[in-house]
Symmetry: none
Subunit: 232 residues, 4 copies
DNA sequence: CATGAATGAGAGTTCATTCAT
DNA sequence: GATGAATGAACTCTCATTCAT
């Protein structure tokens, strides 16, 4: 069981752990190996030997760069979370109409939440949320929160703000993102089969936009619901 | 690392071996202990010694009732999933209006997905989805799928079917449930703080209903979005 | 009960795993410890902890050098069998007469089959013949078969081939060796008291030669049987 | 490792272990189960649960009849040794000539030493000779020694005593039996393939007789060695 | 600095033995 | 007397971590 210390012992701070390796290249090399192993086996299932072998360094070097397995794990998650997740949010592509723009956003989100990186991070962070609570905070801030605030800001900017009635933009953005997920995200996280055909993603995205706008669009007729007809 | 066999080797059936233990009370006692430990530490992080201690039995007894750690884990998850999850879905409480009824459903769902049992199952099954794919299937069938099909059926029954335009009831139900979750479920799964005050739950529930009905209700004026004003 | 795999699983080769240990000295040190314990307790009766303690290394180091108990056992038996057994067969010492030479061979064989190493190998290999059939083959090829073929070759070489009538030299050699053992080998293998006094060994050896030559010598008078008169 | 006590603790003799079960039928039933399991798995490899299951009794009953695994093992070996082994030695069948009679004996011995029971006893007793030295003594007395003394007695009885010159009948009998085994016994004990075709057994038996009589027969011409020509 | 052999606590699992029923 | 659930010590094997080279 060995109550794994979430973060390096504060006691060891006598020496600021300065003696650890300094070559950024080697550090990156180790993190790449760690990524492959942690992603495949999770925290408990990964072994430092395995990571060292995969990264092409010795175990001693591993410990020169990272004080413990817990520290290495955190470094790996934080790096993905801070450096790779935000890359997935680009500016919202402006479409011909507001609905077009939102559809772009919806499709981008669905692709994001079913991407291997995102699923892996979700899985690993959820697994270790009790042991490493900091990771969840970082992930949330750089992932969902980021996405939400970008969309919320867009909703309040002209010209779309003119067309919309959004008393709580953050909540509206959350609702929009929730609509994009339906059961796709849940099933994907559990590695159950998911329909990710472009046609289905398109249907989900357009449905999300329609349902969203039927409430938040300031005027215009109500749009009837869509139906999905599989290609065959 | 050793790829743990998802389910007990069929080959080993040459020796009927264990399962000598037959007292349902002791079996339940062990499962309770296992629940506490698996819930807290996950599959890999839990040790059989620890479970035995927590359950108040010896390790030998553990193995008299469950052939292996994997079998015990599956038994625990399956029990929760099959026996406890379905209990959480009751008939849909009929309210004065359709909106009332849906609000009841929404509130029930939000409470369900933020319940400790549901969160724990989600977390643990997601962690081990690759190792124990059967568990994910069982969980999905008894949880989300069940909830969806109950709501979908309700949507197509009179009197509400008269009032609604729902070309794809299952998808509509999924959208409704997705709307109920917004970011609550995601945050709760990562053990991040979640606002579960009745007022907020109420707001989320009523918002979900409103957005849903603005699309799916056959006639009537569009309802404007709601806003949440915290009590304090 | 667990059917111990005779040789390391070929399947596990996915992970090259251990064999990190490479120091021949330490390897030898471990094998010495293993020899003591396996010789005393047999395969099942020996424990890896015990071997580690006896060899003066940690259990971890044991597994750095040998992937499993089965592998260590095989390495130990194979080493004795391949490296030590053949050393026990030297050229046949030529004596003044053919009978002299055969007597030398007979005495050497009797000493060999009652030597601790040989007895131990016999005992341990017989015990585990079902589990490790390869070891029995190796032992037989390097021990009895070797001895037999050396003697068979000698029988067909001049000058003794002139004096002998040996239609099947291999079988003749087997008969000769069988005669050397009488009940000595059987008793020794069961750790029952055996008379290994030089006088008795001499008697057995000379008897074997006499009985053998009475059949295989081409000419000359028949020699009467010998009798053993204990010294005291 | 658990230094298994070779025989039941003398200390426990306070109570003469009288409380043990008394039904001879059940005792025999247990011994039959024990025979199957010990024969297949050896001492260490057999488990009391397995024996109980195979014998169709509970573990508690096992311990009512036999104080420990060691005691049960000894009882099983002693029973085979005392009751079944001697059955394998019958009177020497008298043939037309002395050579005929000896050939019958030789064939019987070769069949005996390659019989499953005999091989099993040999294997198991050799394996555990250090732990249970008493068993080896009993086996030896009831097996090889019995065979030897029967043959030795025959050698000294008329009419064959008239025809033979046997100063040491016991040793002569041992030599004769040794000649019968050549490498057959050794290979069989190690579970290596053995030629047990009637033709080969016949050849070994007749060779043994010829070699034996060439030394021990009082008069007559020397017989030349035989040769084995496989049927195909 | 980099290495990888060495460590030993602790993992999952088995099994001889006991004892309440 | 017979049962078999319960026990816990001992087993094989793993792995995070250290440290001499």
């Amino acid at each position: 069981m060995a109550a794994t210390p979430p973060f390096p012992d504060k006691d060891k701070a006598q020496v600021p752990s300065a003696a650890t390796g300094t070559s950024p290249a080697k550090r990156a090399q180790i993190l790449e190996g760690a990524a492959r192993i942690f992603a495949e086996h999770g925290y408990e299932g990964a072994s430092m030997s395995c990571i060292a072998r995969d990264a092409g360094v010795s175990k001693g070097t591993l410990y020169n760069y990272f004080d413990s397995k817990a520290v290495l794990f955190c470094a790996f998650i934080e790096q993905c979370t801070r450096e790779k997740l935000p890359l997935m949010f680009r500016r919202i592509d402006e479409g011909a109409t507001m609905a077009d723009s939102l559809e772009h956003v919806a499709r981008a989100l669905i692709e994001l939440i079913t991407s291997p990186l995102s699923l892996m991070l979700n899985r690993v962070i959820v697994s270790e949320a009790a042991t490493f609570p900091e990771l969840a905070k970082t992930f949330w801030a750089n992932g969902p929160q980021q996405a939400t605030s970008i969309l919320a800001a867009w909703l309040t900017r002209a010209p779309q703000s003119e067309l919309l009635d959004v008393p709580d933009p953050t909540f509206a953005a959350e609702q929009f993102y929730a609509l994009c997920q339906t059961h796709i995200a849940g099933r994907a996280r559990m590695q159950l089969p998911v329909d990710t055909s472009p046609a289905y993603i398109d249907f989900v995205a357009r449905s999300a936009v329609r349902v969203f706008l039927n409430t938040y669009q300031r005027s215009g007729p109500r749009q009837p619901p869509l139906a999905y007809v599989p290609d065959v």
